[in-house]
Symmetry: C2
Subunit: 276 residues, 2 copies
């Protein structure tokens, strides 16, 4: 997997715009053809997972998020048909401001696009969910090593045998990401991420992977780094893949998400999400 | 080991005084001959480990506490020769208000007494250190099981191979207490105890005992419960035995401590020690 922090600025020269400014990132997506990864862009700012669903699926999904706050930390929801999320950024237009989108019909992936203006519907409701980039920044700020970044990868992604709490038509297993730490760093990582409940919060599990039905060698779509060195403990955080699995199970007739690792970049500061 | 919470009110009938009132507990020690354990007395109130040293040893010990805040969380220090600790209780007289005391000369235990008025010296400095009773109450309040209590024991006590930071003549190994938890409870226990840095705070280790030089079967003086059930992780907290070991190594000519499990009961509320 490509090193996300070194991901090339696909479609636009990096020098064209200020990669540290979230508004500039959105403008690059909107009008300058930026279609790359977003890790490392606008450091210090919240990036969000996206799920857009027709209005008649929105209440069930909202309830799914409410019942599963660790994997589905909802940070904004649009009004039906409204492509704006002003609490995340004043100028935001969700139809154009994300590098790439995935379109699903009846639960199945059908295409990747870089603009959803032509697909927009006046019954679509946008859900923006916090993502682990925010707490990874807090972990790095605390001096904790994230070795998978050094290895040019992301945290290993796994599907557990734990049922997420169902809501209406949405149901599925809890997905997690794994990050290994030495014991003293594991304790610190639990403290640091406990401050950020809106971006998955504290781990949901520590230690034996089998206790949550996980084999570290069997990653979801082989995504990420599942290495645990001698003397380390694996820590497992709830993951934004969980609602995607629930959507795949529910098979709504229409759904749009961000493309993996190409997130919505917001004006919210990561630090503003800390509860203390 | 006797079940501390069911410890008999040695020397005085339990009905004589209100065991829930910290002032009553101290009065019972002072004038009614109470010489029993203090676990379970004055629930909700801070109990303290004690170390009294001659003035010319006090600065080194203060520095040892400052350098080792996890095992030595200092909550009060008296002026030399002053038997009062008014920040812990207005009426407190350290010479009479503890059930039992241990007296050491040149680092060696010489006797257990129930009153130190005749031993008091005008150069003695009293150090009161927070103890794990406070965070155990917080763990129980959070619904976390402390199985050793159900078994009529205390947390297992161990001496690690980690050096405490030396200060002057005081040096020694870090001592810890072990409490086992299921993974999800372990994460919660780290969160809960992180709120209480003045009573040992978060664990210093989680998982493999050998990584800190501990064999769970080899307890310090065989104190406490070292059982870890399948599916549990051992969590290790810094322990007030650490300064006692350092005092034994330093061999001051004179030292008085509380007797094990017979602590100073203060008017401070456990909840008042929480940092958040």
């Amino acid at each position: 997997m490509a090193h996300l922090l070194d991901a090339p600025a696909a479609g636009a020269a990096a020098a064209d715009w200020d990669r540290r400014d979230p508004r500039e990132v959105r403008r690059a997506c909107r009008s300058r053809g930026y279609t790359g990864y977003t890790a490392g862009l606008a450091p210090g700012h919240v990036q969000a997972n996206l799920c857009m669903l027709p209005k008649d699926w929105a209440e069930d999904f909202l309830l799914f998020c409410q019942r599963n706050p660790a994997p589905c930390p909802l940070i904004a929801r649009s009004d039906p048909g409204d492509p704006r999320l002003p609490t995340l950024a004043e100028d935001l237009d969700i139809r154009t401001d994300v590098p790439r989108y995935h379109v699903f019909r009846d639960g199945a992936f059908v295409e990747e696009v870089t603009d959803i203006t032509s697909l927009w519907r006046d019954d679509l409701v946008v859900f923006a969910l916090g993502c682990s980039f925010s707490f990874e920044e807090a972990l790095l700020d605390a001096g904790l090593p994230l070795r998978f970044l050094e290895r040019g990868s992301v945290a290993g992604v796994y599907v557990t045998d734990i049922d997420a709490k169902p809501a209406g038509r949405f149901h599925g297993k809890l997905a997690v990401t794994m990050r290994p730490f030495k014991p003293v760093d594991a304790i610190r990582a639990i403290q640091v991420t406990s401050r950020f409940p809106n971006v998955h919060g504290a781990p949901v599990h520590i230690g034996d992977p089998a206790a949550i039905g996980v084999d570290l060698a069997v990653k979801y779509k082989n995504v990420g780094d599942g290495t645990v060195e001698p003397g380390e403990l694996p820590l497992f955080w709830a993951c934004g893949l969980t609602p995607q699995l629930a959507v795949a199970n529910a098979k709504p007739p229409f759904c749009i998400t961000h493309a993996p690792s190409s997130m919505l970049v917001t004006d919210l500061r990561n630090a503003s999400l800390a509860v203390l």
